[in-house]
């Protein structure tokens, strides 16, 4: 698997004229990587992910997956949104099966697959529950299981843990790392949480804002991936460097408003 974003530009027409949101973005993601793109609010992270997902088309440049240009959503890319997007009238099992159902897969096969991925995310016991009976973290785990049933080449995640409290978030981080190590998943996640990015990913793209550009690409080499590592000096160095990149942006933003 090889995902490539090349020279991607995206502008929006607004009342105040043309708004450049993404400018000359270049990225590559290869099999079994866990990539995070970090950027402040408004830096165009969701916009970037929408181009990769195929929900929107770039103004210039392109996104290719295994050499094929992306023009529409496809089963090779799964996605988890920041806001809960489970179908409230379906139970957990039915939610997980839904994508396969849309794709016309037989009842037996989709039941098997959904059950398998529910066990992967540890929610087998909640198969019959309705989304409203689940906690925020559980809802996102169902969304992950649902995205995995199509066996995508890459899992795209748009600030999936942004709405969770700090403790749930931490347990979701452990869960993600565990999931990533157990499977051969490729993950591309966007977030504004620097620690989250450093803790989870093996490579980070730091985005600047207005227009969104890649400020820096950073490979993360940490001795271990457990909660302890957050006290490691290496961890702090990565975090501080990224924070500095984002702080610059904060000052810029202020001057831009003034």
């Amino acid at each position: 698997m090889f995902l490539q974003v090349s020279n991607l530009h995206k502008n929006f027409e607004t009342k105040n004229g043309k708004l450049a949101v993404l400018k000359d973005i270049n990225m590559t993601i290869v099999q079994e990587e866990f990539i995070c793109a970090v950027g402040a609010s408004g830096s165009g992270k969701s916009t970037l992910l929408r181009q990769i997902a195929g929900l929107d088309k770039p103004c210039f440049g392109e996104v290719r997956i295994d050499g094929k240009t992306i023009t529409a959503p496809g089963p090779d890319r799964g996605m988890v949104f920041q806001h809960y997007t489970l179908y409230p009238w379906l139970n957990v099992q039915e939610n997980t099966e839904f994508g396969l159902k849309l794709q016309g897969i037989s009842k037996k096969e989709r039941k098997e697959k959904a059950s398998y991925y529910l066990s992967v995310v540890g929610l087998t016991n909640f198969a019959k529950s309705l989304p409203k009976e689940l906690s925020g973290g559980m809802k996102q785990r169902v969304a992950i299981a649902r995205a995995l049933t199509s066996e995508p080449k890459v899992l795209l995640m748009d600030e999936p843990f942004g709405a969770l409290d700090i403790h749930t978030k931490e347990s979701m981080h452990e869960f993600m790392l565990d999931l990533w190590q157990r499977t051969n998943l490729t993950i591309f996640m966007i977030t504004h949480d620097v620690e989250e990015a450093v803790f989870l990913s093996n490579r980070i793209y730091a985005l600047g804002a207005r227009p969104g550009t890649v400020r820096k690409e950073m490979t993360i080499n940490l001795p271990e991936r457990t909660a302890h590592v957050k006290r490691h000096s290496q961890f702090h160095d990565y975090r501080d460097e990224l924070m500095e990149l984002m702080r610059l942006h904060g000052k810029e933003a202020l001057t831009m408003v003034a």
């Binding site: 997902a53 929900l55 959503p73 496809g74 089963p75 890319r77 799964g78 996605m79 949104f81 806001h83 997007t85 179908y87 409230p88 009238w89 839904f98 994508g99 849309l102 794709q103 309705l130 989304p131 409203k132 969304a143 649902r146 995205a147 199509s150």
Partner: protein, 271 residues
């Protein structure tokens, strides 16, 4: 005694919270019983001409009389049939059109101005035209109900459809859904509680219109019963008609609420 009374009223002023069950039951009973008692008191103590205000007993006698003669059953069936037909056809067309209006900006632009205008034309004002075009049979009556329900229902369905979040639609695209699947398997089930609620509210309007429609030369129907009773000053029969209409309307309302609870358990407010 005083103490237990204070207890049962505990929680009367709780803002948007459930009240204790005994309080709920006693308040519900009082809401029907108090007016009944008042009515009974006024008619027994006050020396009122039953032609002006019959007592509950008079009304009950009239009810038994009309029931035994079979007139009441005949009238009720006639009115129910008209409401059923008119409302059924209105909903049959309004629900799909409302869903399409809520889902496609183009269809909304096509229909919303017209429907918005029609909604403000009181349906009874169409009666002369309906008589002119459709005569005095069942057709103008059913059409009147159709006109009175269709436009409101379509616009209300459209509004509930607009509540389906864009994220939910987009994540369905990502899962491999096509527009038709999104319409039937996401937008429709998501809007179903709102659609049932719109139908429930508009059924009340249909029920009002059937009474009006029966003023167009008809031989049977609850509205007809009331207007005939008025002409002959049979006030007790007017009351029977009113109460029967109210009870049927309330039963239909409760039926829809039940339907909503059973079919859309996921949408209930309580967590």
């Amino acid at each position: 005694m005083e103490k237990s009374k204070a207890n049962i009223l505990n929680g009367f002023w709780r803002l948007s919270e459930d009240i204790p069950k005994p309080l709920y039951i006693s308040l519900t009973i009082s809401s029907i019983a108090l007016p009944l008692i008042l009515w009974w008191l006024v008619t027994t103590i006050g020396n009122i001409d039953p032609k002006f205000l019959p007592s509950p007993a008079n009304v009950f006698q009239a009810f038994v009389r009309l029931w035994k003669s079979g007139d009441l059953v005949k009238d009720t069936i006639a009115s129910l049939w008209r409401v059923g037909f008119g409302f059924f056809f209105a909903a049959l067309f309004a629900i799909p059109i409302g869903i399409l209006m809520g889902s496609f900006a183009s269809i909304r632009a096509l229909f919303e101005p017209l429907f918005g205008l029609m909604r403000y034309m009181p349906a009874p004002a169409f009666i002369p035209l309906l008589i002119l075009y459709l005569g005095i049979g069942e057709e103008p009556k059913i059409t009147l109900i159709f006109i009175g329900v269709f436009f409101f229902n379509a616009l209300m369905v459209m509004d509930t459809v607009k509540f389906v979040s864009k994220d939910l639609i987009e994540s369905t695209y990502i899962l491999g859904g096509n527009p038709w699947q999104i319409l039937t398997q996401v937008i429709f089930p998501h809007s179903l509680p709102g659609i049932l609620d719109a139908c429930r509210i508009n059924l009340a309007a249909a029920w009002q219109l059937v009474i009006v429609s029966e003023l167009i030369a008809s031989t049977e129907g609850l509205g007809r019963r009331i207007s005939v009773a008025g002409r002959f000053l049979r006030t007790d029969e007017i009351f029977v008609g009113l109460i029967v209409i109210g009870i049927i309307g309330l039963s239909l309302d409760l039926f829809f609420q039940y339907l909503l609870r059973v079919s859309c358990n996921w949408a209930s407010q309580k967590r």
